[in-house]
Symmetry: C2
Subunit: 270 residues, 2 copies
């Protein structure tokens, strides 16, 4: 690994994953990861631009931000790039009327969307709502369409709750892809459009930005393919084998967000 | 397509898929497909060897055969090759103790299997038991294992019930494969070992046998890869697009089992 000073030269903006980096979700609103509340505050007091870039699709941004604020984080809805609003824009642009296979917590993000007589399926991290019956309904909608369109909010394999690893939307997306013989369109990380919209919101170019996440493929690999640098934290869903991933190598590995912010504030151009 | 006489020359044995060929499963035990009860009876009166080769994994063989007998079919448990007994043999041979993600209807097939302290997962067509919680438990077992083993009873995409198309085990197998970054071992069609064990039971060589099924990939493609001939019926999950499948071409297409048996009895060597 190159020295940190070299690795972080020219960084002007930081994209932060939320789950597994700021906090571990779970019963009772989850728990902040040690040092992360202060790390976010220090980052926001610095000259660096900060944007939160999440694949959270169980909760609306309002609910997510409220939960994080209660844990002590300095964060507001306008600072968050999340897949549900991005999906709504695509649905409107292409006149798509979705059958929604989503968690009730995120339903309010789709309030303005026409869901009558569906001509596509939108799948998100539905958690307990991934029942056989709900999966089968989405499958049947897709099989009835001449050109089946499946939009997936992220394609994460799993995430970490305080109680353990939990299946994310990705496995269920794969299930519908296989059942119908189709390929889903992913809205959220690691889609390049999604990273770009987060960068655009803070006016930072990809080569001036660093992504910090716990997902070696979705966060690190995705950001690197967009021309960003990327650090993986050893919190959240991180597993030691990630540091020897066959396809993705992070620009750096840090114990947690606090260490990442220490390094950033030490080494980026003053 | 070559003339039927040429196509069916030298056939000595017939493998019959059950669901979608003999009957459509569904509420109240399902319904026999028109002409199939008589077709099976005629086939069994002929000089041809007959074996039923199913991926049914929701019901035990006892229950399946009982249901078919009530619909009028001449069939007994000893004539059926099914994936659950084949899986039990593998589990015993390899000292595997499964976590079972299966339908309650097939649980009795695993009565003799040690399921304590699991070192693998067996997934079958669990239907309504494919809840998020059950999927997540299987996922967590696999993630805890150093060498995760996933055994899937078939890998069908979907099947047809009287009420419509229903997701089969395949999509859920794909979900766990993706979540854990592993490849499942499939027991059942289209696995060559499975077809071979069905042929062995009737003492017929692959080149002397014809498979009759409604699944262009699992039945037709699988049997052909074993050196058998294969006919697709236009019942069950058959869809017109199957006749232009990009990878698999049946040796012949027939409207239903009755037509297949007509042709067999007309054209095979007396």
């Amino acid at each position: 690994m190159a020295p940190w000073g070299e690795l972080l030269a020219g960084v002007r903006g930081v994209l932060l994953d939320i789950s597994g980096v700021l906090y571990d979700s779970g019963a009772g609103g989850g728990t902040a990861i040690a040092g992360s509340v202060e790390a976010v505050a220090r980052l926001k007091r610095s000259q660096l631009k900060v944007r939160f870039c999440t694949n959270e699709s169980q909760k609306s941004r309002v609910e997510l931000v409220g939960q994080l604020q209660r844990l002590g984080f300095d964060i507001s809805e306008g600072e968050v790039t999340a897949p549900a609003p991005a999906a709504c824009q695509i649905l409107k642009e292409r006149a798509l009327r979705p059958h929604l296979l989503i968690h009730d917590g995120v339903r309010s993000e789709f309030d303005q969307i026409d869901t009558s007589n569906p001509n596509c399926v939108v799948i998100a991290d539905a958690g307990e709502s991934f029942s056989y019956q709900n999966m089968n309904s989405a499958f049947q909608v897709l099989m009835e369409l001449e050109n089946p369109v499946l939009i997936s909010l992220g394609k994460g394999r799993y995430y970490k709750e305080t109680s353990g690893l939990m299946l994310d939307v990705g496995p269920y997306m794969k299930a519908l892809e296989y059942a119908c013989g189709i390929k889903a369109e992913v809205v959220g990380k690691p889609s390049p459009e999604f990273f770009k919209s987060a960068l655009q919101a803070i006016g930072v170019e990809a080569h001036q930005a660093v992504m910090i996440g716990d997902d070696i493929v979705g966060d690190v690999g995705g950001a690197q393919r967009c021309g960003m640098r990327a650090l993986q934290v050893r919190t959240g869903k991180f597993r030691p084998s990630d540091e020897h991933h066959p396809e993705v190598k992070a620009d750096g590995y840090v114990d947690n967000l606090a260490e990442a912010v220490d390094l950033l504030l030490q080494h980026v151009d003053k």
